[in-house]
Subunit: 230 residues, 4 copies
DNA sequence: GATGAATGAGGGTTCATTCAT
DNA sequence: GATGAATGAACCCTCATTCAT
């Protein structure tokens, strides 16, 4: 329970560290210097992400990151200026896939509800109980202490995501699917059960599992003014 | 060779620590021993709360807590067994006022919407941008690392709050105010914009201020199937 | 096992602390101020002796001494200037009874062997496995660090004891009981099994109990040139 | 208000710490990594031994050990898990040479007395007033607080030493050199002047120097029933 | 480039000592 | 006189960072 350890108790690695890269006979024997470097960098990022998620920024030890990544401690400093930079770059890197997905599918001709339904279920499946959710929680937990992280997240994820959501809402209002016009001002409302599900998963899943997928459906019913058949 | 230490992005004191107590002798010569002790304990809790909120658990130094509280470092240990205990007791203490408020007034004869409206506005006023919101964010940020804190919070706040909310929702369904019956299964939906507002306030207020009060209103419109006149 | 504790684990009191003095109804209701003070002083000394024996000088906490003595921590300082003074005075005090006994029974008309036999059995009975032995071990353990303690011990116990022993040896030589004349130069030889027994008791009794009484007898046989019947 | 700290009676460094390694670069550029590490480890052990001997376990500061060893504080932790482990490993290490010597030469064809004479003089010369004697005193002083140390010492030194001594005594009894048959039961008797000499050296040498060598001789006279010619 | 031993500034915790009550 | 809350100097141990190999 203590976020800061004492001694070399090791507190049991969060997850078994990735098997040490096979070493001499590497999976990409043809890889160039640069490619090897990029691989190492990526391994460090993965490892650091795991550790930061499990322990938070301050309680994470670069020693653990290094051994999880299968590199020496000094190697981290060949790729990142210091712990803070590692954290910030890692958040950026980790966010890229999320960003891609968010700017994604505006409803071609289909209904807005279908688009949101799709969005919600994707989220329920691919974020709430996955590594992506962990990243979200990490940002929520540490963002206040790392303005640059919060800034980046706001700029790259939040503002874009909300803009996309707003566009969708306006589409829905225009098409009559959505009756509440105020919603366009607060796209956050549409997303909020998603956020709550992510947080719930991190803090309370042990006590009371939450059927995120179903919750999202009820919420969409609210937005689209329908009552589920079930 | 020397290791340069840096903590998060901000090294400066979060707020100027309380000015050293001014009186040359004792500030409250009339208070009893026990009263003085209770005062000191409270001062420590206040100071620790500030520091934990500002830096997170692991990055908070008890040295800072002590000087902010105007006591010596050793004094903290007269009141709390260690840093972790301080943190946990502090969360408990800080939550008590919130708890009282939550078990609060079910709608006497008034409408459910009025009750929720009241709840939401109270929250917007007294939590989102206040110390209470900070505490919530602190729990969200550290809860995963402190199961006992998450447990306590779930037991004393979340489960009670949701039960109360569910009761209200069922009342609303019974009275016809609320049409979506699924809502009773997911009281979280009703609360989620509140959570989002609190988080937003902590991370993004700088970039885009959020009118929480107004957002809550729109959300209630959704729930009660109305569109505000305004 | 650690000689220095961590936390308030208390490491289990060495022996159950003496029952708190009955307080209001004291065993000596007529005792004067001064008598009460002397009692307290004595209680502190007893308690401190227990603790110093159990943990050594440096690892003993005055807190423990105070609670074992049933007084407040500050009270110790009314009787002793500081921890070191307490230790030194305590050794002096604890040694007084021993000293009396040592200057004791020169053989009136009886044989020297009888006198030594008596000395040895008294030692075996009243020192080796008792509190007095603990005190000896304490001095052996800490003496090097406290010259004044070693000085005092040498002056009051060792030199006197050896002088007495030498006188006895010379008596034995004169009477023909002891044949080895060199012994008078090294009375330590006569005493050495006693010292070894005390140390053995403290360190190795667990592994191999030592019949000190029997060992002393064999040693006397050596000195008096006899062979035991058994 | 301020607490004044004093340690035992001597605050000054026990001996001037080893002069900072002189060479501007590295003192032994040719030595391998592993060799350097072993050297450092050894330096730490030496330094720690000095400090533990001089101050006892609890009063020894790892800071002092580090600077005496010419390393940084953290370096100690690269070689030893903590202070207690350092202490225990150091005792083990320090004992190894003694052990070798003890299992040593039973009398080939020579007399038992010659063997014991040799043992005693070797002890007088190489232990009583040397570092080895300091180690013995350290064990006597701290053994009670460190069962594992006492155990190790008993197992590796005491029981072996006594077994060897008993064998020698039995040889002497068989050959008629030793008349007292009870001695075989208590080899401790033969060794006890040695122990006393070591302790005397540590505590009372200042007051009254002891000619250990001569004392041992007298004691052997006792055992072998002779009176020295001299 | 990669390594990991070495560094040393901290930070949590302890405890001898003081002093207002 | 007696108390015990308060103090703050130490001390053990950790870990980000450096740099010789």
């Amino acid at each position: 329970m203590p976020a800061k350890r004492r001694r070399a108790e090791k507190a049991a690695p969060v997850q078994p560290p990735a098997p040490a890269l096979p070493g001499s006979i590497s999976p990409k024997p043809a890889s160039s210097r640069a490619a090897r470097a990029a691989e190492r960098r990526q391994a460090i990022i993965e490892a650091a992400l795991d550790e930061f998620i499990a322990r938070g920024y301050a309680a994470t030890r670069l020693d653990d990151v290094a051994s999880r990544a299968g590199v020496a401690k000094g190697t981290i400093y060949l790729h990142f200026a210091d712990k803070e930079t590692l954290f910030q770059e890692l958040v950026r890197t980790a966010l890229v896939p999320l960003i891609g997905r968010l700017a994604a599918p505006p409803p071609p001709g289909g209904s807005v509800r279908a688009a949101l339904e799709n969005f919600a279920q994707t989220f329920a499946r691919e974020v709430v109980s996955t590594r992506r959710g962990d990243i979200l929680r990490l940002i929520v937990a540490e963002g206040a202490r790392f303005p640059s992280v919060a800034d980046f997240y706001y700029r790259e994820v939040v503002s874009r995501g909300l803009a996309g959501m707003r566009a969708l809402i306006e589409l829905g209002i225009a098409s009559g699917e959505i009756r509440n016009e105020g919603l366009a001002q607060f796209p956050q409302i549409v997303v909020s059960p998603v956020i709550v599900a992510v947080i719930w998963q991190g803090l309370f899943a042990r006590h009371a599992p939450l059927d995120a997928s179903e919750m999202f459906r009820v919420h969409l019913d609210l937005i689209f003014g329908e009552r589920r058949a079930a």
